[in-house]
Symmetry: C2
Subunit: 326 residues, 2 copies
C-alpha cells in the first residue's frame, strides 16, 4: 500500500520514543531508516517490528578512545549502531575537511547500522569520497567452509559528482541476513545456493539457513572482500572478542578522502559526471531498457516519494507499526 | 617444465635490457614479474613475448605533479606502469610512515602494472594496510551494456599479520584480458558467460571477445566495484581522456594506512593472525581439503620455488624467451 511519508515519519518517531530513545537519537535513527525506506531498501522501518530495536539500558555516552589529526577510535558505549556510526561519520568529515583524510572506527556496539549507503552519502554530499564498512556477528562462512565466522560484512561508497553523489552499498554475502529472516516470517523459501544448513548442505529452508551459515557472494573473490571488511571492522577498530575468539561487539569504519589531495575537486566531479553519462549512453544489451548506475534504482524511488509525498509499505508492516504506538 | 629460478631471472633481465630498460628499471620490472611467476599468477614473464613490453622511447623522467603531506600525484612520463607504480608505492609508504596515511596516484602511463598484489604486499611488509587500484583501457562493459568502457579494473589489498602479510588481488572482470589473449594464441575457447562479441552476444570465441567486451564479475555488485576502481584510477588521478572521453593514458592509486591510527599495531597484527587461524580451522565443506586464505595458494607455490630453486614454466614460453636473447 501507499501511505503519506510524513505519517510514516510520525509513527516511526513515536515507535523510537517508546523504544527508549531521547529525541536527538530518535531523529538520527529516523533519518537512517527513512533513507532506506524511501529507496525501497529492506533496511527500513521493518527493523522496528518483532524484537524491534529497543535502546540498550546499559548504554553509556559515546566516548573517544583514541584521537589523532587524521583519525579517531570511537567507543560506542552500547549505543545503537546507527547513532554511533552517524557520530563517527561526522567526525571523519570534520577531519577530512581539516586535513584531507578522516578515518574513524567504532567499537562497543552490537546492533545494526542500517543501510550503510546512508553514511557514505553523507560523506559524498560534503565533497569527499566516502568508504564505509560494517561488521556484525557470526552469520557467514568463509569460502570452503560452512561454519559462520564472518558478519555479512557490507561495504559502501559515496562519490561526489557535479550533480547527485553516486552511492552504493552491498553485503559481501550472497543474501542479506535480513532477507532470510523475512523469508522465515513469511514462510517462504530462500533462493538456491545462498546458504548452508548446520551440516553444511545447501538449503532453501530459511530456518535451517538461520541455524547454518550464509554463503559469500561471488565465490573466492567475494570471500576475499569479506575478509577485508572483517579485518577493518574487528581487529582494526579494537573490538573485544571473548577468550574463544567469538565476537562480543561489532565494529564499523568510515573513511573520508578529499579528492583535492590529488586533483582539482571541481574537475574531478565534472569528470565523474561525464563518466556516468558515458556509461548510461553505452550500447545496451537487447533485454535492457536502461543502464542503471549503482544506487540509481533507489534514487528513482526516492524522487517519486519526494514528488508525491507517498511511500510504498507492506500492509502488515504498517499495521504492526501502528499497533506499537496505539 | 621446471627450470632454475636464477636461470629465469638471468634471461628475464637480458630480455628487459634488450627491451631498452636501464639496469635500475629492469630490476624493478624483474621483481614485479617474478612476484607473479613464482606464485603461478599469469601476470608473469609471458608479458615479455609477442609484442613484449619495449620501453617507450618518448619516456620522460617521472615527476611529481602535486604533493601534500599525505598525498602525491605522480606523472609517469610514459614510463612503464611497473616502474611508475613501484615509485608511487614507495612514496605512499614514506608518507604513511611520517603521517599515518599515504595516498599516491599516477597518470601518464598506458602499460600494465603486472600483478598488483606485488605493490600491496610491499606496503603490508612495512606494517601498513595497503590498497592498490589499477586502471587500463576500454576492455570491459558496464552491467547492462556490451560496449567496452571500463578497464578490467583490478584491486588489491595487503594486510600485515604477525607472520606473512595477507595479500590478494583480483580483477573486477569475469576474466582477465590476458586470459582471453592466451586462449586466442592457443586456439582455445574461453569459458561461457564471461564476454560479449561486438554485437552484444555472449561468446566463447576468444577473437570475437577481443573485438567485443569482457563482462564484470559478480553481476551488479561487481559492476559497482568496477565503477569505484574506474573513478579512483581515472578522474581522481587526473588522467587525460581525449575530446570524446576515450582514454589516452591509464592511472593507478595506492593507499597506505598505519593501523596505529586506530589501535595498537602489534595487537592488530596478532588479532589478524588469530582470525586467519580461526578461518583455516573452521568446519570444511565435504569436498574441501583445506580452507585457503586469500593469496595462500600463490604463497604455497612460492615456498616450493624457494625450497627447490625451481619454477614451473610453459615449454614454449621458455623457448620463446631464450630465442629473444639469442
Amino acid at each position: 500500500m501507499q501511505i503519506r511519508v510524513d505519517d510514516l515519519e510520525r509513527v516511526t518517531l513515536e515507535v523510537l520514543t517508546q523504544s527508549g530513545y531521547p529525541q536527538e537519537e530518535a531523529s538520527v535513527i529516523l533519518e537512517v531508516l527513512m533513507y532506506a525506506q524511501l529507496r525501497g531498501n529492506n533496511q527500513g522501518v521493518v527493523k522496528l517490528i518483532g524484537a524491534g530495536m529497543p535502546r540498550d539500558k546499559a548504554a553509556q555516552p559515546i566516548s573517544i578512545a583514541k584521537d589523532t589529526k587524521l583519525s579517531a577510535l570511537v567507543n560506542g558505549g552500547k549505543n545503537t549502531g546507527m547513532v554511533v556510526l552517524s557520530y563517527a561519520t561526522d567526525l571523519a568529515i570534520e577531519k577530512a575537511r581539516e586535513h584531507g583524510v578522516g578515518i574513524v572506527g567504532t567499537n562497543s556496539t552490537n546492533t545494526s547500522t542500517g543501510a550503510i549507503g546512508y553514511y557514505a552519502s553523507r560523506v559524498a554530499k560534503q565533497g569527499y569520497i566516502g568508504l564505509v564498512f560494517a561488521g556484525s556477528g557470526e552469520f557467514m562462512a568463509m569460502y570452503g567452509s560452512y561454519e559462520p565466522l564472518f558478519g555479512t560484512n557490507p561495504l559502501a561508497y559515496g562519490i561526489p559528482t557535479s550533480g547527485k553523489p553516486i552511492v552504493f552499498d552491498m553485503a559481501t554475502a550472497a543474501i542479506a541476513r535480513f532477507g532470510i529472516v523475512e523469508a522465515k516470517t513469511a514462510g517462504r523459501a530462500i533462493p538456491e545456493g545462498v546458504a548452508y544448513d548446520a551440516q553444511g548442505n545447501l538449503t532453501t529452508d530459511a530456518a535451517a539457513a538461520l541455524g547454518g551459515a550464509i554463503r559469500v557472494f561471488g565465490g573466492y573473490k567475494g570471500a576475499a572482500l569479506a575478509l577485508l571488511v572483517e579485518v577493518l571492522t574487528h581487529p582494526l577498530v579494537a573490538t573485544s572478542p571473548d577468550a574463544n575468539g567469538r565476537k562480543t561487539d561489532w565494529g564499523n569504519l568510515v573513511v573520508a578522502i578529499d579528492p583535492e589531495l590529488l586533483t582539482d575537486s571541481d574537475i574531478f566531479e565534472q569528470r565523474v559526471s561525464g563518466l556516468v553519462e558515458r556509461l548510461k549512453g553505452a550500447n545496451k544489451l537487447a533485454d535492457v531498457g536502461e543502464i542503471l548506475i549503482p544506487g540509481e534504482r533507489g534514487d528513482k524511488i526516492l524522487e517519486q516519494a519526494e514528488k508525491t509525498g507517498l511511500v510504498d509499505i507492506d500492509d502488515s508492516l504498517w499495521t504492526a507499526l501502528q499497533q506499537i504506538v496505539k
